[in-house]
Symmetry: C2
Subunit: 439 residues, 2 copies
């Protein structure tokens, strides 16, 4: 079930959206069957873009860090989902250890941690935080702007288990994307549940694997709905070993971009879409940055690629002090650009859907006043607007006369988000270094 | 997790309530462990009374019929819980058949059915209604005051399965308490899930079994919390084969009432409670009525018992046309009366907590302006006030300084309701006619 939240986009429901609303019971059953075969991510967040003719996920985070941006109304849903998740993993658990990221100087991130603590305490667990930072040698208290406090403690590793002083957890929840590598203290923990698994970390994860998995999910879901999977799946290509510094490398990339733009143009023609296609370029490894700096480059034609040849402008945002500088990407993902039609107060807005286990528990808009509709809003300077429950409170009611209730546009976003999360589940299975292979 | 709803009672949290809030993670874990051993009721509703010094369940319905009294905000919680419930029972299910009660002339009851349909459709099932009434020989459409429609169809029974024309359900959900007996069409359905089971129906269920099971649950929970179980469990006694028509029968009952009042008085003395104790008398069989009419008699002293010797005033409420007249009870439950301190607009109010599977999904107040605080509010003329999410939206936050957030009083009600539901689960196990007995 997807809560009925107010989306900024209030235009008429398009054909794709209507088809999803009409197929709701079939879609929900389809997911139910998928979860019999696959394990949902413990928690996740998916960025969605709705261009009016396409509805696609553009980012699937397995270490979501915006829990405090959900409205308080969402908490019961999150807690209920957390209870269901824990029950499956470790029903006898008393303790949950959360391993935060390095951004503990950031009040916004700290309130995310507090929110996670609240959710899991309400689900019936004692929750404490253990730091990967070797400099943390005794409990350290952080104070938030709100006056609330949070204590981060030094991790204690024994041969087989990880914990804190007088705190032995059943499950260890990573809220740290491990982009600078997997610390040894997290390795070989076979007695405890470490979630998400280490190969979900950005030092090991590759966007190309996710795209491949999502393509498969989109095909199967397209079949269920009787739609062209392109409507929910952006075209993409992977370019490896490209030496962008050299003119030959740039030429190679340009040829790949042109090929992808050509494929998009053919699709636009097929559907009578008058927009000008564009391509987003990202490093395949989420921990890397593009030559020229940043995590995404929008390319409308070859000239835009010149940015890659420029000197890096200091990498993506500011790095945490002492953090390893990100590597420059030579393994790239080219993805069909998808506009967003969503606006909040005239600013470009991207819906972000939060999930816990298989359940959509809420969402918010990531907005950036300075950005145009074709760029990523996940950049320094972005703001977050929580989504509230829709006033009409009507759930989609199939069979009712049109207009009897406002459609739940957020439902579709929840479907796309769950497809991306399911793809992450496929991806984790396919990339699991400990998987047994049956041939 | 229990949603944070606004309760009418705004007085300070008493010691018992504070103890529950403080023990929240331990309580939630305790329930989690219980559900590893016992199967929660598929759905249930529990009436709660909060006297200030006691917090007790007074009625545990396994066929809740007030779903439309929950606010729309609660629907996502209900749907999420329904998904979890279905997944355990019949994950591949496409269809759910609901068997309604006989009150289809009642718009309030019809909207309850529509709400159930909405919840399960959003959980991914096709939902249709099948009538036990042999007079329903073709689909019958009912129109609600709201303009919405609902179709009830004739049931079709084959040797092993129950369904409708072109509709073969995996699960059959009874919303009919079967107080006038189990119809043959529902018997011997071994290929499908029939929920709740037939022995949950009021023709077979006995309140004394529920009291016994709840007593056990209250003892175990009291141990966890370190409290006297009496604080959550009303004293009670069963009186069988009492011939109330004869003076000797009335004398026998009077002696039992006096004995129970004496036990309550001793407890009041122990706790320094200045209230005057009273006793509620109910038929052990929910389908029966008391001599004198009605389903409950409040007794403060022996003279109040004379009401039982009077002529029945036409049984409890109005019977449905054609329905079997309820039998007069000779098997009685005497229960320590518990006042309610809750008021809504000066009227006596009783919180009712709704659950789906193990999850509290919402609640409302049953209020009755004409009643005093010691009588049941479940009587003709009662009104329903849905409980809204609390304004402050704060979940209980242990360790926070007092006053930092309003306490979630509804949390305690959700705990008591779940204890009663757990007792129903014990009760169903103990009374299961098909249970295999290991000795």
């Amino acid at each position: 079930m997807v809560p009925h939240l107010i989306t900024a986009l209030t235009g008429p429901i398009n054909e794709l959206e209507q088809r999803m609303l009409d197929a709701m019971p079939a879609i929900e059953r389809w997911f139910r069957l998928e979860w019999m075969e696959h394990t949902p991510a413990f928690y996740s967040a998916v960025d969605i873009r709705n261009s009016g003719f396409k509805l696609v996920p553009v980012d699937t985070s397995l270490f979501p860090a915006g829990w405090s941006s959900l409205t308080k109304d969402m908490l019961p849903l999150a807690v209920q989902a957390a209870q269901a998740a824990i029950e499956k993993i470790c029903p006898e658990a008393r303790n949950l250890l959360i391993v935060p990221g390095a951004q503990t100087d950031n009040s916004f991130y700290l309130s995310n941690l507090l929110q996670l603590q609240r959710i899991f305490e309400n689900a019936g667990l004692n929750v404490r935080f253990g730091s990967l930072d070797p400099a943390v040698k005794s409990p350290r208290e952080f104070k938030l702007h709100s006056g609330e406090k949070l204590v981060v403690e030094p991790l204690q590793r024994t041969r087989n288990r990880l914990g804190l002083k007088h705190f032995d957890p059943c499950t260890i929840l990573l809220n740290n994307d491990l982009s600078s590598g997997v610390p040894g203290i997290l390795e070989d923990l076979h007695e405890q549940y470490l979630l998400p698994p280490l190969h979900a970390g950005w030092s090991m994860r590759r966007k190309s694997n996710h795209h491949k998995a999502y393509e498969e999910v989109a095909k199967r879901f397209g079949k269920l709905l009787g739609i062209d999977p392109w409507l929910i799946n952006p075209l993409h290509a992977r370019v490896t070993d490209v030496a962008i510094g050299k003119p030959s490398g740039l030429e190679q990339l340009k040829a790949e971009v042109d090929a992808l733009l050509g494929r998009v143009r053919r699709k636009y023609k097929e559907y009578g879409i008058a927009e000008k296609p564009f391509v987003a370029i990202k490093p395949n490894n989420g921990a890397d940055v593009l030559p020229g700096g940043g995590g995404v480059l929008i390319v409308r034609d070859g000239a835009d690629l010149e940015a890659l040849a420029r000197k890096p402008r200091g990498a993506a945002g500011k790095a945490a002090p002492g953090a390893k500088a990100p590597a420059l990407a030579t393994d790239l993902i080219l993805r069909e650009g998808v506009l967003t039609n969503e606006r909040v107060h005239d600013a470009v807005a991207e819906p972000v859907v939060y999930m816990l286990d298989r359940y959509v528990v809420g969402g918010f808009y990531r907005i950036h006043a300075d950005r145009t509709s074709d760029e990523s809003t996940n950049a320094p300077g972005s703001r977050y607007v929580p989504l509230a429950f829709a006033e009409s409170h009507h759930l989609p009611q199939p069979g009712q006369q049109a207009g009897a209730s406002a459609p739940n546009r957020f439902y579709m976003y929840g479907v796309i988000a769950r497809l991306a999360m399911l793809a992450a589940s496929y991806e984790m299975e396919a990339t699991n270094p400990e998987a047994e292979v049956y041939e």
